[in-house]
């Protein structure tokens, strides 16, 4: 059943077995997986079925580190969460991403890729991506225009591209039909309240934008609000545990990570280079089913080990210009034609900041010349100083806003530069073109020019078997709290180069399996 908290009686109390906070990819997957079980499930969503400005504004926050897009624009706060605007590029994490790597401090998951494989397979179906096949040579050979890279240096990988699946629209009916699941819209959790000893969650305090209040008394809670809101709610739940819930070791909010994209240069392509399969997605039939794939050159795991590098991919895009200045100029021009002036100030600043790029792009456009833009995309190193904290400013519900201090290290730059050079060498060897690499990328330092975050918010409630290094355990349960779990990419301890949603969904399915085995009567007795 779908209900609206705004229509409830003020002070309403909900008793339930399981309460899932947040109806994005993780929360909806979990609720669907628990549908039909004997457990009563409530799925709480801050927004409604459609976006509303007042609710979206609750996501506002401050940026104090590297430049980042406004926090109320990089995620969505209504049923379906950020799947309402994702582009559905998917890929599982690589086996090496789960390993503890000596050259990547804080790296490693408590389990290996094989533990997630069956869930990845199911997640692939949920995300409507077609057959679960990755990095299979036979499949890659079917993609037109795959380059014959020397596999000891550069490997070909692919992302699978979905419809994209809007989880809210696609799975709403499933939840409506589920007899044991209720969805409560416009219900904001403003505090998770534990028992006096801090070891058991007893109550969730609800509030609507109109001032209505309510309470949920769950036996088990799953927090599934994304990599920024998860730490925000835990840190703000401090009426009993002053540092916030699960934050006895000052880890909640730390290790904030996002996949970093950076335009590193371009390739002057030979005549047929733009026909390579890297530029546009290809439709490939696998086992009688269609799958849409996009190729990317990547660092092989052996090279990562040998050179002590993070995991990186490269996107190659044939276009008339790759520079930020020209792209801003081109977009601003299109917007002006459409009569849109929003964001024109930012566009102007970008153009002025990269005037040479803008002018070069115009020149190339007029001369019908193409370049192959080289954009590195990859894994950030776990960094405890990259973090989410609470700000003094509060939102309309009285919740502290967040401050985002996003940081990168020289490791990301080193890996991106190494892969870029290797790809440039291989493209030249194969006579596909010549690489120009932006000079700032050559410096072995921490400077970044226009790093492009991919809005994949990860790591802020990281997973570890050791409470000293993680907020949740291998089952996603918050250390020290017996009935509080976290779902979503905030539990990723290391992040890989693949987009996170497939892993988010796989982990939610794994969590559902675990929760089915939890004896809730014991929690009732407590």
């Amino acid at each position: 059943m779908i209900q609206d908290f705004r229509q409830s009686d003020d002070g309403a109390v909900i008793e339930t077995d399981i309460c899932i906070i947040g109806a994005g990819a993780a929360g909806i997957t979990l609720a669907r997986a628990l549908a039909g079980s004997q457990r009563k499930v409530w799925l709480l969503e801050s927004g409604g079925l459609d976006p509303e400005p007042e609710t979206l504004a609750l996501n506002k926050g401050k940026i104090v580190g590297l430049p980042y897009a406004p926090l109320d624009q990089v995620r969505l706060r209504y049923f379906g969460g950020s799947t309402n605007h994702w582009n559905s590029f998917c890929r599982p994490l690589d086996p090496i991403d789960f390993e503890k790597r000596a050259w990547v401090p804080y790296s490693g998951w408590p389990f290996d890729r094989a533990a997630l494989d069956p869930y990845y397979r199911e997640a692939q179906e949920i995300c409507e991506l077609g057959p679960y096949v990755y990095d299979d040579d036979d499949i890659l050979r079917r993609i037109p225009g795959v380059a014959a890279f020397n596999r000891d240096r550069v490997t070909n990988i692919h992302w699978t591209i979905g419809p994209p699946t809007r989880f809210g629209q696609r799975y709403l009916e499933d939840l409506q039909q589920a007899p044991n699941v209720d969805v409560l819209l416009n219900a904001n959790v403003v505090e998770i309240v534990p028992s006096a000893d801090g070891q058991t969650v007893t109550t969730l305090r609800l509030k609507s934008l109109e001032g209505k209040t309510g309470t949920v008394r769950p036996k088990l809670v799953v927090l599934a609000c994304g990599g920024i809101e998860n730490p925000r709610i835990l840190l703000a739940s401090n009426s009993v545990m002053k540092p916030g819930l699960g934050n006895g070791r000052d880890l909640v909010g730390r290790f904030f990570a996002d996949h970093v994209g950076v335009i590193m240069g371009y390739v002057v392509p030979a005549a047929d280079a733009c026909q390579l399969g890297y530029n546009v997605p290809a439709s490939v039939k696998v086992g009688g089913r269609e799958s849409t794939m996009r190729l990317a050159p990547a660092l092989p795991a052996d090279v990562q080990r040998r050179e002590q590098l993070l995991n990186f991919h490269i996107m190659l895009n044939c276009e008339d210009e790759h520079s930020a200045g020209y792209l801003a100029l081109r977009n601003a021009g299109k917007n002006l034609v459409r009569g849109k002036v929003d964001g024109m100030g930012d566009a102007l600043l970008t153009i002025l900041d990269d005037l040479g790029g803008a002018a070069g792009g115009v020149w190339r456009h007029l001369n019908d010349e193409l370049v192959m833009g080289v954009e590195a995309y990859g894994e950030p190193a776990p960094n405890p100083d990259s973090r989410i904290t609470l700000d003094a400013e509060r939102d309309r519900l009285g919740m502290p806003q967040v401050r985002l201090d996003w940081k990168l290290s020289p490791r990301e730059k080193k890996a991106a530069r190494f892969l870029c050079r290797s790809v440039g060498e291989e493209l030249a060897r194969l006579n596909y073109g010549r690489l120009y690499i932006d000079e700032w990328m050559l410096a072995d330092d921490t400077t970044w020019q226009r790093p492009h975050p991919w809005d994949h918010h990860m790591g802020t409630t990281r997973m570890s078997d050791d409470p000293a290094t993680g907020v949740v355990d291998a089952n996603c349960r918050v250390h020290g709290i017996n009935n509080l779990y976290v779902a979503g990419s905030s539990v990723f301890p290391t992040y890989g180069a693949g987009p996170p949603t497939l892993t988010i969904v796989a982990l939610a399915l794994r969590l559902a399996d675990h929760i089915r085995g939890v004896d809730l009567t014991l929690r009732e007795a407590k």
């Binding site: 020397n150 240096r153 240069g265 002057v268 030979a270 520079s323 990269d354 040479g356 790029g357 002018a359 070069g360 020149w363 190339r364 050079r421 290797s422 440039g424 060498e425 291989e426 030249a428 060897r429 010549r434 690489l435 120009y436 690499i437 932006d438 000079e439 050559l442």
Partner: protein
């Protein structure tokens, strides 16, 4: 990126992408003639060569550069198709450089060591 870099790009692309595509003329067996035949855009080649020598000053020697580029292939380039064979040998060396990562970055451009040395050699012509 700057306007200046675009200009370099044009120079470099015209140089490098045509370096192996010089139309055969008369056989040029002397090293000097071989270099000029392999580098139709001599001015651009010298510019690149100057950058290379600034980066690797210890190679600022025509003899040493000549040895590096042509040292072990002199005997192979004799006869009427000498230039074609010379091109093929240099191309093979260029591919080997890219394959093994023996490359240099000059003003942002990724070049095979052999290409850079060939350009450097042209500064002595």
């Amino acid at each position: 990126m700057t306007i200046c870099a675009i200009s370099r790009r044009r120079l470099l692309s015209s140089l490098i992408l045509t370096v192996i595509a010089v139309p055969p003329t008369s056989a040029m067996l002397a090293k000097r003639d071989g270099v000029t035949a392999l580098l139709p855009h001599l001015h651009a080649a010298r510019l690149i060569g100057s950058h290379y020598l600034a980066l690797v000053p210890q190679e600022r020697s025509a003899t040493r550069l000549s040895e590096s580029v042509f040292g072990d292939i002199d005997a192979a380039v004799d006869g009427p198709d000498a230039l074609a064979r010379l091109r093929a040998l240099v191309d093979a060396r260029r591919r080997r450089d890219f394959s093994t990562g023996d490359t240099v970055i000059l003003n942002g451009w990724l070049l095979a060591r052999t290409e850079a040395r060939l350009c450097a050699l042209s500064t002595f012509l």
